[in-house]
Symmetry: C2
Subunit: 180 residues, 2 copies
């Protein structure tokens, strides 16, 4: 089955409101603690999502459409959000993520991509040849990867509080699948 | 550090709105597909959360407060939602979950639990002695376990669409940690 861009956009459009409903004004127990050294808190994850909106998804889409395989994407800085987020509140980050996502989806819709556009190829600096379709599908699954991470980081804060139920709680068995 | 009941309630209160923002009117690609035989779709997971509101968390809280360790909890039926959800829409389930959660948190707050109440012990039919504090902490982490599952089930639907990026997407490496 072919990747359905409308399904992808439907999900991308909902992530900011879902995170806002979950995280805004939540006690810092849940949002400012991480899983240990060199891991991310929920605050860090939202900063990372913002950094992706600024430097990854739509900039790479434009590179594919303009240059195809002749011009590799810039490498994405996985710690690029740290400086950008300094001194900001989680509420500010949630607003900024929602604003950037909305702007980016406006741009994406305005491109009116057709099937032949989705098949266009670009050059990833580490992965090699990729298609625009794969890039846009990845944008959505990247949201889900970080929703998965957020649930795990939050659950970790209660590891000592659930007693013998820990064995039934799948999220507490998850040790993560990527770094960080 | 002691389990902080206000932090727990803060999270429990946000889950319905967060799921609503993520899932309402989302294309069925995301919400009605599962991960294979005997696994759950997002629709099933929301039904399971409803079943927990009806039969698990507050009923068990009342059993601890009334009977202590002398009266074991009823076993929770992990497939109890299937019949209850039949013929319902996902929108209906999201509304019902929000309504039940709100009612349950109203009841919980009205109990005005003190630290000595949280230390009261109950009898789980499989796990043995547990405390009310552990039960209420588990309620919150159970939400996160299913948010973790929802992100994974949704991501699975795009497994074939992300091309070489799959190796960078942690949620696609997750095979789940509990059954189902």
């Amino acid at each position: 089955m072919k990747h359905n861009l409308q399904d992808t956009i439907s999900l991308l459009a909902r992530t900011p409101a879902s995170l806002n409903a979950l995280l805004r004004d939540l006690p810092e127990t849940w949002t400012f603690r991480n899983e240990g050294e060199n891991t991310w808190s929920v605050f860090d994850v939202v900063g990372h999502l913002i950094h992706g909106e600024r430097t990854d998804w739509m900039p790479r889409t434009k590179i594919v459409l303009e240059f195809g395989e002749t011009h590799p994407f810039e490498s994405f800085d996985r710690w690029g959000h740290v400086r950008e987020s300094q001194g900001k509140s989680l509420g500010w980050l949630l607003d900024e993520f929602a604003r950037l996502r909305s702007d980016n989806l406006g741009e994406l819709r305005a491109l009116n991509l057709r099937q032949e556009d989705l098949e266009r190829r670009g050059l990833h600096p580490a992965l090699g040849i990729v298609t625009l379709s794969e890039l846009l599908a990845t944008w959505a699954i990247h949201d889900l990867t970080h929703l998965h991470q957020i649930s795990r980081v939050m659950a970790h804060q209660y590891r000592g509080d659930v007693g013998p139920w820990s064995q039934y709680l799948g999220v507490l068995q998850c040790t993560g699948h990527s770094s960080p």
